[in-house]
């Protein structure tokens, strides 16, 4: 493992040392809290984004979501140019399995699924997508697809992972920038519901976690000079001199 990451086990052990404990008697409890802390940080600070290629089931036009899936970031197909071509979101896609469309088919003004704007029907409006459409089906743990350019075969799914499902041991890790935030979370939660601990200590632990989380977010979102220059140069375009 590179220095970029530190395992949850190491974070827990270091916290035990911080607290002056000589044994690992509390290890399992802290580890349990740490797993929740990892999710908390992965959602909005570290954003462990995974990318997978998934085959679309030709019978149902769906993909089954990975077990550690929390929320998608991008859904795309891979183009022959090596770049991702994003699909569009459509809330009108049917989620009911086996639902029967009316017969005879409605007229095209009502049931307009012929062109989907792909061929630029006059007056149809923009915002359409030639790559296809998706809709998340939370109830079934799937994503539904539709495409008028043919059956979608494979899609690239970029999603936020919870960081711990389906992995064990050293593979459960956190970015080094968020190490202190995770340790602060574990400490805060470990004392939060103990009656014998005074309120000041709990308040301090809570503030410490949010402060460490803020620091971690700031570190994760660093913006280099080169990136700034690149962003600026994108605005430069050739234009005719008048």
């Amino acid at each position: 493992m590179s220095a970029q990451f530190v395992s949850l086990e190491d974070v827990v052990n270091e916290l035990l040392v911080d607290e002056g404990k000589n044994t690992q008697a509390e290890f399992l409890r802290y580890y349990n809290i740490g797993l929740r802390g990892l999710k908390e940080l992965n959602f909005d600070v570290v954003r462990m984004i995974k990318a997978v290629e998934l085959a679309v089931d030709s019978a149902t036009n769906t993909i089954t979501l990975p077990t550690d899936y929390v929320k998608f970031v991008n859904i795309a197909v891979l183009g022959s140019d090596g770049e991702l071509h994003y699909l569009g979101r459509k809330e009108r896609l049917n989620l009911v399995t086996g639902a029967t469309p009316p017969t005879p088919e409605s007229d095209s003004n009502y049931y307009d699924n012929v062109d989907e704007g792909v061929y630029g029907r006059y007056g149809f409006g923009g915002g359409n997508n030639a790559n296809g459409y998706y809709r998340e089906n939370l109830d079934n743990d799937t994503i539904e697809f539709s495409s008028i350019t043919g059956q979608l075969e494979n899609i690239i799914l970029e999603y936020i992972s919870d960081g711990s499902t389906g992995v064990t041991g050293d593979d459960i890790k956190v970015h080094t920038y968020a190490q202190e935030a995770l340790a602060s979370f574990i400490y805060w939660k470990s004392i939060q519901r103990k009656r014998g601990i005074n309120a000041n200590e709990k308040m301090f632990a809570r503030k410490e976690f949010y402060n460490q989380k803020r620091l971690a977010r700031a570190r994760m979102n660093t913006f280099t000079k080169a990136e700034a220059l690149q962003a600026t140069r994108k605005a430069f375009k050739q234009a005719p001199k008048l």
Binding site: E9, E19, G20, K21, N22, T23, Q24, A25, E26, F27, L28, Y31, N32, L35, S164, V167, T168, G169, D170, I172, I191, K194, G196, I197, N198, E201
Partner: protein, 207 residues
């Protein structure tokens, strides 16, 4: 040389009897040894809790600090069917902290809370998922039986604080040297009071 329970008891007895312990001594050495054990157990809890109060602002019992003063180390214990019986009983402390460390030449075992199940189904539902995810190997204690959750056979070393009465009379008595004199002084005080009491020669059992 490390002290033993018997040595301490003999010292107490010598002081009480003025240096020479005769066969007619009213106080039996077995009685002194029992009190030596009770003094040690009482010290262990008292000292550990004192360390806990002075080092921490919290009142969390799991903050107990345990140092090597009272610890026994048993090496080469053979585990079979996930279980090994400890030679002596560990002292009862919060979070099974009477047992300091369980390890083999290749593995460091971590404590898991007793879940009330069998050796293969012990973890309570609360920790089942965490046990799997951590990728670690665990032990738990049930009376004097120490169980390894994942390993059915192994050769392990265990360091723990044994209950005083479970140590043999001539075994090394794990106690800090400075506490030996405190135990002796306390017991001499106790027996001096006892010795000063008038004996009741009247038989109250008649009629």
């Amino acid at each position: 040389m490390a002290t033993t329970r018997k040595k301490l008891a003999e010292q107490v007895l010598r002081i009480i009897e003025g240096g020479n312990v005769s066969d007619d001594a009213r106080i039996d050495i077995r009685e002194v040894m029992v009190l030596v054990d009770q003094e040690r157990d009482s010290f262990i809890r008292q000292l550990i809790e004192d360390r806990f109060y002075t080092k921490s602002t919290t009142t969390n019992k799991s903050e107990l600090e345990i140092t090597g003063d009272f610890v026994s180390l048993e090496t080469g214990l053979s585990v079979s069917s996930n279980k090994v019986e400890l030679p002596t009983q560990p002292i009862s402390l919060p979070n099974d902290m009477g047992i300091i460390r369980v390890y083999s030449s290749t593995t460091e075992y971590v404590r898991m809370p007793y879940g009330g199940g069998t050796s293969t189904l012990n973890p309570s539902p609360l920790y089942n998922d965490t046990v799997t995810k951590s990728g670690k190997k665990f032990w738990y204690i049930q009376g004097t039986d120490l169980y390894l959750y994942q390993d059915s056979t192994a050769t392990i070393n265990v360091s723990y604080i044994a209950v005083s009465s479970s140590l043999s009379d001539t075994a090394t008595y794990p106690i800090p040297a400075d506490l030996e004199s405190v135990i002796v002084k306390n017991l001499v005080e106790t027996f001096t009071v006892m010795k000063g009491a008038n004996e009741d020669y009247k038989n109250d059992n008649i009629g």
